[in-house]
Structure formats: structure tokens, C-alpha cells
């Protein structure tokens, strides 16, 4: 077990697009067992100037990798990412898996598993806020932690400007090919650290079976589907989500 008594194993959680900063949803309770760093991606309200010359998730992944390499205490981390952050985490795992002891992906973008004429990822840029909520949530009354430009109507101008800037950052990294990278797809089979892929049974942002088929592409991956959750399962069903993650970490004797 890494770390001494009272030392929480370190983890880094890479955020999805449209989500608010910080330890939202299940991250708050998981932070009791792990020491979770939730960095903001450049372009999403932190180090935005760096992103101006970037144009790929590879840029973003390398940025996070360099940041992790510079940590004074060294040691391996648990790597986690949700949605767009899952794509970044996959790219990081392929580039530098020696830095990580496990990988958690939540409803992850980044890899296209279905046919070329199947629109596998819902188009957040085209869908209306209400459509996005219907697609993203099992129970829309649990909608929280997500920021959509102009939603709800009468939202603060400054918040909307931030939301638009976040959308522009997402476009910068994920516009074409849309929300995936064929080059990354060629290398995910080289990942050999334990991988947990969590999907929400009611995730309409990804095509049906996307998470499961992604899990089949990675030899060390196991797939768990949460019955009462959509795309943002760690926000919508935090208790069930945390249980699955803790069980996975105990199974591999990290806790």
C-alpha cells in the first residue's frame, strides 16, 4: 500500500467539459480515501493563455504529464477522468503510464468504437440546453454541477461568458475529428495498469454500449454500469459511484 498511515494515496481527476471546478459530486466523498487533485485544463479558466497556440488533446495531456512529473514527492498517482477529461486521461496513460497506478474513466470521449456513419457523440454545440439535460441525466431534477451558456435563462453575464469560453476550449481540442482521436485509438491496447470504466445506463451523450465496447479494447479494463445515472454519474449518483471506485481500489490493494 503506497503512503504511510493517515496518508491518502494521491489521485488526479481530469474534468469534463461544461462542469464546474472543484470536488463536485462523488469527488468530495472519495477525497476522504484519496487525495484528489482536480486541475483545470488550460483554456477552461486556468492558464488560458497557454492554450492559445494548442490544438489537440495531446497538448493538454502533455501539459498535465509535465505538471505531474514536477511534483516534489514523486510517486505514482491514480489517474481519473470523466467525459472529455477521460479522453485526456487516456492520452496521458498512453504517453506516460509509468506515472500512474490505475486509470478510472467515466463516460469517456476520445475513442470512436462504432461505424464511421454513426454519430457516436452527442453534439453539445448544436443541442439546446434542455436537450442536453435530457440526454445527460437519468433524473433531470438532479441536474447540478454543470454550466451551459445561457442556461437557465437569465443567467449571469459573467457566468455565460465563462461558459462560452469553456465551449471554445472544448472546440479547440475536440472539434475535428469530433471528440475522438484515431491516433490515440491505435495505442490504447498498450495500457497495462488496472483500468475501471464506469458508464451510466442512461447516458445519451454517448452512443449505446460505447463504454462497454471501449472496455473491450483495453485488456486490463473492467466495465461497470450504474443503473440510475446518465453521463454525469459521479454527480448524479455519488454514493453508488464512490462505492464502485473504492471497491476497485481495494480489489487492487491500493486501499
Amino acid at each position: 500500500m503506497p503512503g504511510g498511515k493517515n496518508m491518502r494515496p494521491p489521485a488526479v481527476f481530469l474534468h469534463d467539459s461544461d462542469v464546474l471546478p472543484g470536488h463536485i459530486g462523488a469527488l468530495e466523498q472519495l477525497n476522504d480515501a484519496l487525495e484528489i487533485d482536480v486541475p483545470r485544463h488550460p483554456g477552461f479558466g486556468s492558464d488560458d493563455h497557454l492554450a492559445e497556440s494548442w490544438d489537440s488533446v495531446g497538448d493538454l495531456a502533455q501539459f498535465h504529464i509535465e505538471r505531474i512529473r514536477k511534483r516534489p514527492d514523486g510517486g505514482k498517482l491514480h489517474l481519473m477522468g470523466a467525459g472529455f477529461g477521460g479522453w485526456v486521461a487516456l492520452e496521458m496513460a498512453v504517453r506516460a503510464q509509468e506515472l500512474f497506478c490505475s486509470l478510472l474513466l467515466v463516460s469517456s470521449y476520445g475513442i470512436k468504437v462504432l461505424d464511421r456513419t454513426v454519430a457516436e457523440f452527442a453534439d453539445v454545440f448544436v443541442l439546446e440546453p434542455d436537450e442536453l439535460i435530457d440526454l445527460g441525466w437519468y433524473d433531470r431534477t438532479r441536474f447540478a454541477g454543470v454550466r451551459i451558456p445561457g442556461y437557465p435563462s437569465g443567467s449571469e453575464t459573467a457566468e455565460d461568458e465563462r461558459a462560452f469560453a469553456d465551449r471554445a476550449a472544448l472546440a479547440r481540442y475536440g472539434w475535428r475529428p469530433f471528440m475522438h482521436d484515431p491516433r490515440l485509438s491505435r495505442w490504447i491496447e498498450t495500457i497495462d495498469i488496472p483500468v475501471l470504466i464506469i458508464g451510466g445506463a442512461h447516458d445519451g451523450m454517448l452512443a449505446p454500449r460505447h463504454d462497454e465496447l471501449l472496455a473491450q479494447r483495453i485488456p486490463t479494463a473492467q466495465f461497470v454500469e450504474l443503473a440510475h445515472a446518465g453521463h454525469y454519474s459521479y454527480i448524479e449518483a455519488p454514493d453508488a459511484f464512490a462505492d464502485v471506485v473504492l471497491k476497485f481500489l481495494r480489489q487492487h490493494e491500493y486501499l
Binding site: 445561457g150 453575464t157 461568458e161 471554445a168 472546440a171
Partner: protein
């Protein structure tokens, strides 16, 4: 004053139900709703109208949009190729080629040079960023739209003027050998136009001594936008820009009676009522700054769309009435803005070909002769928009632009 005939070549057979169901006529309206035979007849009709405009002494403007029932012109260069073979006199302005949405700037340089070569130098070449909604048909990243516009332009200009083989390794475009054949008939290249409403792009246009076009804006915005250009030109040490440097697109219909004109004005409104882009500012993130995106979301941009017919006529967006009335409207726009080129959309939506032709004939017979000389001796005129006379501070722009 030069006048250009312009039609977006709309496909007018889309029902309100379909428009409603697919939330507009662009990008998401399935093409099974397009009838190939009706489409063929439309193209023949529209090309005939352009041909007639040439015979009437009008010049011609073409444009392009994609995956849209509002505009069946799919490539400004292809449209211009159709025009130059059917016409003999008119200058043909491409307004414009949406540079960031064209994958290959070298092909653009070649195609425009070809058009100019076969037409004996009748081409005016407009470069535009392309509207936000064009982002989907081309799938080009909206975040890079402006930067791609500049780099594509730089490459095309180099291809037209370098006179030798060169290589281009830019951020967005890469070629080992650029060497465009043919060369354009007009040397060093056809006149360049840019459509702009944001101050940085207006200033860039002035700095390059290109012509500036502003499309479907209120008179007060046109005044302001041309003002920014004139002041920038002065800052860059260029001669005072005359009317020939400026163009504005307006909708227009001239009829024998005010009643008939009004009836046609209602038909022109199709152009505005079908402008129904989804998602407002959310559609193309990064195409506009976050603050402009919020303005769009809150309805502060694109205000023209919300105006009714009378307000659009008052604002100088639509020229409408009997010949005497329209002569006065043209004179007013010249006097207030200093515009020297008017791109006249004399057709929209469900107007019949006879209606379009009647309007064009009356315009060219009754209006054009009365106003053709406007701006010819502008340097002798002590007029409000002259740099020496215009002390008004530069105001906010883009408050009404459609795109």
C-alpha cells in the same frame, strides 16, 4: 455608383412545417425535401435573371452557402463561372469566398485566376470569414476561423504576386510547391474585397488597401463601419478612401406604385424570416469572443432580424418604393455613408421571376440613370463623411449585422 444584382438563389418550396420541424432551413433540413426537377428549373431561372441583369447594365454579385435551402449557390467560384459565360459586360463580384471553410487556398487562388483569365478581367474577389453556421458544413474549427482567414489570404496573395515557385509551411496550410497557373488577367490580381464588421478586421482591410463591404446593416452601422475604415486608412498613411472603396448590400424593390412595392417588400422579408439559426451564440464557439457570444444570446447582435418591414426601410436596410422614392433612398445612403457600390438583393423567397424582372427593369431604367453619377466627383464635395468633416467618435459596431 455601381449597382449589382444579387440573388441567394433560394429554394422556396420548403413548407413552414418543415422549417419549424428542423428549426430552420440550414444544415439540418434533410435534402430529401429538395426536388431535383424543380431545382433544375430554379437554376435556369436564376441564371437567366443574372443574364438579364447584365443586359440591363447591372453588375453581378455571387456568394455561397452550404447545406441550406436559403441559398443554392454552393460555391462563389462555380457561380461566377456560370455567370461569366452567359454575360459580356458585367463585373462579377464574389462576395465572398469563405476562406476558413475552403480546405485548399491554392485552389482558391487558381479558381479566381481562372475566372479572371476567361472573363478578360471582369472579376472582383471578395474574401469573407463565412458565417458561424458555415462551421458545420465545412467542419472547420471555429476557434481558428479568424487565424485561418488571415493565413489563407496571405497564401493566396503570395500565390498571385510571387511570380515564382515557393513553399508554404504555415500553421494551417502546408505546400512544398506553390505555383499558380494561370495568372489572373488583371495584374497583379483582381480587386480584393473583404466583408467586415468587427474593428480589427476593418482596420486590417484598410491597412491592405482593400475594398470594404458591409452586408445588410442599418445605415447608422454602415456609417460607423466605413468611418472606422477611413480613419484607419488615414492612420496607415493611405489616401482618403473614396466611394469606390465601399460596398453595402441592401434589399431592394422598385415598383410603379407604392402599393405594389410594399407587396414586394413583404416578399423580401422571407430573407429575414428564414434566418433562423439554431442555438444563437452557442453554435460556433470561438467564432465570436465570449462577450460577443453573450451579446448574441441576449439578442443584442443580429438586431436587424427582429425589425419589421417599415423599420427596415427606415434603417436603410431595404430600398423600397416607386422610382422617385428609391432614388431618394439611394441618394440618402450615399450622402450619409459615402458608399459607392450597392449590392442589391432584388429577389427573395417566393417572388416570381416576372416580379424580379419587373423590379430589375424599373430599377435600371428609372433609378440607375438618376444616381449613376453619385460619388464620381466626391473629392470636390464637402460632404459629412469626408475625413475632415466627420468628428463623430467611433461607436459600437455589429449591433445589427445579420451574420
Amino acid at each position: 455608383m455601381k449597382f449589382y444584382h444579387f440573388s441567394e438563389m433560394p429554394y422556396p418550396y420548403v413548407t413552414n412545417e418543415l422549417d419549424e420541424k428542423y428549426r430552420g432551413m440550414r444544415t439540418f433540413l434533410p435534402n430529401r425535401t429538395y426536388d431535383p426537377v424543380l431545382g433544375y428549373e430554379l437554376y435556369q431561372r436564376y441564371l437567366d435573371e443574372y443574364e438579364m441583369a447584365d443586359e440591363l447594365g447591372l453588375h453581378l454579385m455571387v456568394n455561397e452557402h452550404h447545406q441550406s435551402a436559403t441559398c443554392l449557390q454552393v460555391s462563389a467560384t462555380m457561380s461566377a463561372a456560370s455567370m461569366v459565360n452567359r454575360t459580356t459586360r458585367a463585373r462579377v463580384i464574389l462576395l465572398g469566398i469563405p476562406l476558413p471553410h475552403r480546405d485548399n487556398p491554392v485552389h482558391v487562388a487558381e479558381e479566381v485566376a481562372y475566372l479572371d483569365a476567361i472573363s478578360g478581367g471582369r472579376i472582383e474577389c471578395g474574401f469573407v470569414r463565412g458565417t458561424a453556421v458555415e462551421t458545420y458544413p465545412s467542419n472547420q474549427n471555429p476557434v481558428h476561423n479568424q487565424a485561418m482567414f488571415y493565413e489563407s489570404h496571405d497564401l493566396i496573395k503570395e500565390a498571385w504576386t510571387r511570380s515564382d515557385v515557393f513553399s508554404w509551411e504555415g500553421r494551417f496550410y502546408n505546400y512544398r510547391y506553390v505555383n499558380v497557373w494561370p495568372r489572373s488577367y488583371q495584374q497583379p490580381h483582381p480587386p480584393i474585397w473583404v466583408t467586415a464588421s468587427a474593428p480589427p478586421l476593418i482596420r486590417w482591410t484598410a491597412e491592405h488597401d482593400y475594398n470594404l463591404a458591409f452586408l445588410v446593416g442599418r445605415e447608422e452601422d454602415t456609417i460607423n463601419i466605413f468611418r472606422i475604415y477611413r480613419r484607419a486608412a488615414a492612420e496607415y498613411g493611405l489616401p482618403e478612401p473614396g466611394p469606390e472603396k465601399f460596398g453595402s448590400m441592401v434589399l431592394c424593390y422598385v415598383a410603379p406604385t407604392a402599393e405594389k412595392a410594399r407587396q414586394m417588400g413583404e416578399k423580401l422579408m422571407w430573407y429575414f424570416t428564414t434566418m433562423n439559426p439554431r442555438q444563437k451564440g452557442r453554435l460556433a464557439p470561438g467564432y465570436l469572443s465570449p462577450s460577443k457570444s453573450v451579446d448574441l444570446l441576449q439578442g443584442k447582435l443580429g438586431a436587424v432580424r427582429a425589425l419589421g418591414l417599415d423599420a427596415l426601410v427606415d434603417a436603410g436596410v431595404i430600398l423600397l418604393g416607386t422610382p422617385d422614392t428609391v432614388i431618394k433612398q439611394v441618394e440618402r445612403l450615399y450622402e450619409s455613408t459615402g458608399v459607392g457600390n450597392m449590392f442589391l438583393m432584388m429577389h427573395a423567397g417566393e417572388m416570381t421571376s416576372n416580379e424580379v424582372r419587373d423590379g430589375m427593369v424599373l430599377f435600371s431604367n428609372e433609378v440607375m440613370p438618376a444616381v449613376a453619377s453619385l460619388g464620381e466627383k466626391w473629392e470636390d464635395d464637402d460632404i459629412s463623411w469626408r475625413i475632415a468633416n466627420d468628428k463623430t467618435p467611433v461607436g459600437n459596431t455589429l449591433s445589427s449585422s445579420v451574420s
